[in-house]
Amino acid sequence: MKTSQELLNIKNLHTGFRIGDTYFDAVDDVSLTLGKNEILAIVGESGCGKSTLATSIVGLHDHNKTRIQGEILFKNKNLARMTEDEFNEVRGLEIGMIFQDPLSALNPLMRIGEQIEESLIYHTNLTKEQRRERVLELLNQVGIPNPSRVARQFPHQLSGGMRQRVIIAIAISCKPQIIVADEPTTALDVTIQAQILDLLIELQKETGAGIILITHDLGVVAEVADRVAVMYAGQIIELASVEELFTNPKHPYTRSLFNSIPQMNSEDEKLNVIEGIVPSLLKLPRTGCRFAPRIPWIPASAHEANPQLHEISEGHFVRCSCYKNFYFAGEEGGQTS
């Protein structure tokens, strides 16, 4: 699904971490686009590379230990090739970031107002009064009651939900075109989570920003995303619109994941368990279907030697051909495992 207003275009991105003298790719050949007004969710289990992808986009990785290859095109500039100084002009101004843990993302010794002001000082030429005004406006926009009082408070005086609102206020302070949200609601209670997600959608509608939402919670994805990329072992294994992915999942991994959610109406049924564990970065086989070891009852001939993403219907991509012959262990036609 190529939108005409493409904001971000990631092409063949490899992000590798150095261990000893070799680099191990945690993000392995990822290509993605993000359109205006779009919420793109990236889902996967821990260790699949979704957060590494996020830090690559905002350039927050350790330059000495990380190697980035490929292109991250934003307004005809390649973010992957930018120096730290160049990136400082983009980060915060045009790309905002929301982190998982709002307490460790805020400076405990600075007042809320000052922290929001920081990026305004760096990126804009507003006068002191204008900045103050903007801070109150932002706090108001993210639904914080009594902004002038909160602006003078410290992070520890706020609740978790309020802190996350402050983080969002910082992220949107310069009206960025892209917001990267890494597990923004994982540390919050469900009621607060619902409020924060509603707030994100509302802000996105107002500003028209594109949001990359990184999460492991399929419920959150279903509630807010427009398009979903499922990652496994550093690769995107399925990419589709949210309706398509949830009603018609294809890749064995996606299907297995859906079957392991304890749903409201699953009650006494057995949950599906994916055999084995997520392979570690060091031992990851770099050829063949990476999910193959976890579905051993599927014959090797069903997999591709060098799995590619196939577009099976418009905007719906699936990696490897093994989905065609996939069945759950113990299902009809299946051998018991």
Partner: protein, 318 residues
């Protein structure tokens, strides 16, 4: 027939301050919790962070001092003997913790970790002990060679299973599971939940399942207690709670859970905002003048709701 009754359990933490650091007030972490536990059933304890659900669990096993109330275990009052080794209570009630990494001594091997409750309670010879540990590992589906490994050599799901094995060592009657799967990935979570259900059926265990994840609780539990500010706002079977929520707080909690179908999400959002608005308006009616939750009153034989008598409830056949 219930084997354990918890009556009006209260845990209050003192707030010190003022002159000479006197006690100026209390935090009412758990403020009057009453429960009856039956053999082979799973009970859910659900609430937001800070509502007192973990404190309730900890105070039952004796990790937290009880301010008032009593715990009756098989007809015997064990309130003040919860950590008494001569009492069978200590052996029969075990706990599984949320973060299995920090719940195990990193310098001990698995066999010593699992042997701890055995040495405390069972008095076995070294050979018997070793056999028992092998049995435990088999129950949780781990290989024999896990014995000589250290906790850091295992993945999160495996560690959580070791935590369960340790809790199983003394053949307990009740396992208190404090967020046992919230740190795990979906597929691993499924593995641990399936496994907990299996051993429940096999050994007739009871669970007190503490969680904020309503999907998990619904999957696991027969009875669900919704907790808020240290008190129960609604208790009942899972069908009572999910199909006929009565308390405004329960409704709000249920409406906030994300559904795994994108279809109809706009509608759900509108509904959620409606419920939230209703909650803000009607809140006062559901809590007394001090913001405390009312006492529970029955609306059916299994379903109890905390309300003032002024609010008419939909009675279910009584």
């Amino acid at each position: 027939m219930s084997f354990m009754q918890i009556n009006d359990l209260k845990v209050h933490y003192p707030i010190r301050g003022g002159f000479f650091n006197r006690i100026v007030d209390h935090v009412y972490a758990v403020d009057g919790v009453t429960m009856e536990l039956e053999r082979g059933k799973a009970y859910g304890l659900v609430g937001e962070s800070g509502c007192g659900k973990s404190t309730t669990g900890k105070s039952i096993v004796g990790l937290e001092k009880i301010s008032s109330g009593s715990i009756i275990y098989e007809g015997e009052n064990v309130t003040n003997r919860r950590r008494d080794r001569s009492s069978s209570f200590n052996r029969d009630i075990q706990m599984i913790f949320q973060d299995s990494t920090s719940a195990m001594n990193p310098r001990k091997r698995v066999k010593d970790i699992l042997a701890e409750p055995i040495r405390n309670f069972l008095n076995l010879t070294p050979q018997e002990e070793s056999k028992k540990i092998s049995e435990l590992l088999e129950i949780v589906g781990m290989p024999e060679d896990a014995k000589i490994k250290y906790p850091h050599e295992f993945s999160g799901g495996q560690k959580q299973r070791l935590g369960i094995a340790r809790a199983m060592a003394t053949n307990p009657k009740l396992i208190i599971a404090d967020e046992p799967v919230s740190a795990l990935d979906l597929s691993v979570q499924a593995q641990v939940l399936n496994f907990m259900k299996d051993i429940q059926n096999e050994y007739g265990l009871s669970y007190l399942f503490i969680s904020h994840d309503l999907g998990v609780v619904k999957h696991m539990c027969d009875y669900i207690n919704i907790m808020y500010k240290g008190r129960f706002v609604e208790t009942g079977t899972r069908h009572d709670i999910y199909n006929n929520p009565q308390h405004i707080y329960t409704k709000r909690l249920l409406s906030a859970i994300p559904d795994v179908t994108p279809v109809g999400r706009e509608e759900r959002k509108r509904e959620r905002i409606e419920v939230e608005k209703h909650y803000q308006q009607e809140q006062a009616k559901y809590f007394d003048e001090n913001g405390r939750v009312f006492d529970l009153s029955p609306i059916s034989t299994t379903h109890f709701v905390a309300t003032a008598s002024s609010i008419a409830l939909v009675k279910e056949g009584i």
